[in-house]
Amino acid sequence: MSTAPVIPPQLLAVMVRGVSVIVSSRDAAMRPSLMRAVGSLVEDEGREVTVYLSRPQSRQVIQDIAATGHVAVVFSSPSTHLTVQLKARSASMRQAEEGDRPVLAAYLLSMEREIELAGYGRELTRAMLAHKLEELVAVRFTPELAFDQTPGPRAGARLGTER
């Protein structure tokens, strides 16, 4: 039986659609590292999550995930501010490949739409998410904890673990 947290449909839909993704880890000295992902893929109702990091921008985060396994990832919709944070203590990493291109393309399209709704042109989104496929690392993990972080006093509420 999976112990992965149940993510409410409204928040799961946001994650699946493709919204802003920030990936964080920490080193042995407890110094946190972070970078924005350039793509994401959420499968199996949120039990399997893949985020794509550009290596030249994310050396420390990638190194920290490799060394400590700790990963914290926030999904947030720029247009609605619905936000969810996932945490895990282990993750696997691999080089991105040709097969990942459709995922990255779909993500870019969704982000262009999201960020347009927040009032910015597509040019900004493309520059923000610019990358080279051969420099991408796919970080895959199963969330152990999930939190609703939509701005407000309830931000930080842990999402249930019962399925």
């Binding site: 920030i22 407890m30 946190p32 590292s33 501010h81 619905l82 927040a118 923000m128 701005p151 930080g156």
Partner: protein
């Protein structure tokens, strides 16, 4: 710190694109959070808004190391700040500056009471890291701002009346800084309100419209005596919308009940309100706005603060100069043969000194009291020539708490009368003197 200075990336602190901060708990669990505000405190420090007792808060108290990710709003280059938590400030200039900016953001959707800053978390910046990427071109550097401030100051220095000074400021903003929408509001200390005395670039002048201290961007700039600058109003509004759904039951909508509509843009994207302060006293607010995102930069703020400083000094000097002058020779009265129109009924409501010309609302408060006195003297004694000094003495007897800044009240009245075009006018006849021009018989109706 390495080669890159915090100063070099001030544009990243505009708040247009939310920043994120990573922290780590004492037991080694990382956490990511969006931060409403990363505030440039000085060349070595930033302050992060502390609004809720959340995980970030717990973490930094246990482990002061944090990393923030910022995005340049124009070039879209990423920057990482490696920072160390020092302390939390809950009062003082830094806190007030942040609070005002945050309150300004919140006020657009009536979130003043909810979107509150509990503290300014001050961090030392250990390193500024510029990330690789494919940034967009840098905007061309803006030239000539200092020259613009100088020319605005020269124009102000030539002014001999409040009317001229306000026109000089609005014209300078338009001509020298390409600001297309601007207004000046004066402070009514007794009523804790601001009233518009001059504006440019709006469909209606809005002269006489009022805003409460603390209400909106303008009111907050006044209350906190600090500039409030918002570069992306729609984004800010969206953010507060998300907050709002949690609070709808507790937050009453603010109701701007105004006799004269506020002239502002229906959909502003950028706003900047700068308090006009002189000798530590709040005199008013200089406000500019734009339909363009990120229209006003730190440099614009610097320029406006300088211009507002000059304006504040000019207002006080002109007031003092007017007060010191005795009315000596009275100007010849204008022969104004009244057109054969039926008398204009002028109603006065004593409760708030509001005046109606016919059925049309004109003005209230001190300006209303002034007009009622002038018209009374005119009807009873046939007077048309008046001095600021006698008006001040009269008001001091009847309205001892509110007789501040008479020049601004007279200007407000003068402009409202011109806009109404009902045959009543006030004309300056010299420094500290003016004439009431009554082109049509009036019938005074105390209500």
């Amino acid at each position: 710190m390495n080669g890159l200075a915090l100063q070099d990336i001030r544009a990243c602190f505009e708040g247009a694109i939310p920043a994120v901060v990573a922290t780590c708990s004492a037991d080694g669990v990382p956490n990511v959070a969006y931060i409403s505000q990363v505030f440039y405190a000085d060349e070595r420090h930033v302050a992060l808004s502390f609004q809720f007792f959340n995980k970030t808060r717990q973490n930094i108290l246990a482990n002061p190391r944090a990393t923030a990710l910022l995005l340049h709003p124009v070039t879209v280059r990423f920057y990482r700040l490696h920072i160390r938590y020092l302390r939390t400030e809950t009062e003082g200039p830094l806190f007030e500056g942040m609070k005002a900016q945050l309150a300004g953001i919140a006020s657009h959707t009536g979130m003043q009471d909810v979107f509150r800053l509990l503290g300014s978390d001050v961090y030392e910046v250990e390193q500024v890291e510029a990330l690789e990427g494919e940034p967009l071109p840098e905007p061309p550097p803006r030239a000539g701002l200092l020259g613009a401030v100088r020319r605005a100051s020269e124009r102000l220095a030539r002014c001999a009346s409040l009317d001229e000074a306000l026109n000089a400021v609005l014209a300078s903003l338009n001509d020298l800084l390409a600001v297309r929408h601007a207004m000046v509001l004066m402070h009514d200390a007794a009523l804790q309100r601001l009233y518009t005395v001059a504006s440019s670039g709006y469909a209606t002048s809005g002269v006489g419209s009022e805003i409460g201290i603390g209400q909106g961007v303008i009111g907050v700039a006044a209350r906190e005596r600090t500039p409030v600058r918002i570069g992306h109003v729609t984004n800010a509004a969206l953010y507060t919308q998300a907050m709002r759904s949690s609070f709808d039951a507790h937050v009453p909508d603010f109701e701007p009940v105004l006799e004269i509509p506020y002239p502002g843009l229906p959909q502003p994207h950028s706003q900047l309100a700068v308090p006009i302060v002189n000798g530590g006293r709040l005199l008013g607010v200089l406000f500019v706005e734009s339909e363009v995102d990120l229209r006003f930069s730190y440099e614009d703020e610097d320029a406006l603060v300088a211009i507002a400083g000059h304006l504040g000094a000019a207002i006080e000097l002109l007031q003092a100069a007017t007060d010191s002058l005795e009315a000596t020779a009275s100007a010849p009265p204008t022969a104004a043969p009244a057109a054969p129109l039926p008398p204009l009924p002028v109603r006065h409501y004593a409760a708030n000194d509001s005046i109606f010309l016919g059925d049309t609302y004109l003005i209230k408060g001190v300006a209303g009291a002034i007009l009622w006195k002038l018209l009374g003297d005119h009807v009873r004694q046939g007077r048309t020539e008046f001095t600021n000094r006698e008006l001040r003495l009269d008001l001091a007897l009847r309205l001892p708490d509110v007789a501040d800044n008479l020049e601004a009240r007279l200007l407000l009245l003068q402009r409202r009368l011109v806009e109404q075009g009902a045959g009543l006018r006030i004309e300056k006849t010299g420094r500290g003197r003016f004439r009431l021009v009554v082109e049509r018989a009036v019938q005074l109706v105390p209500a």
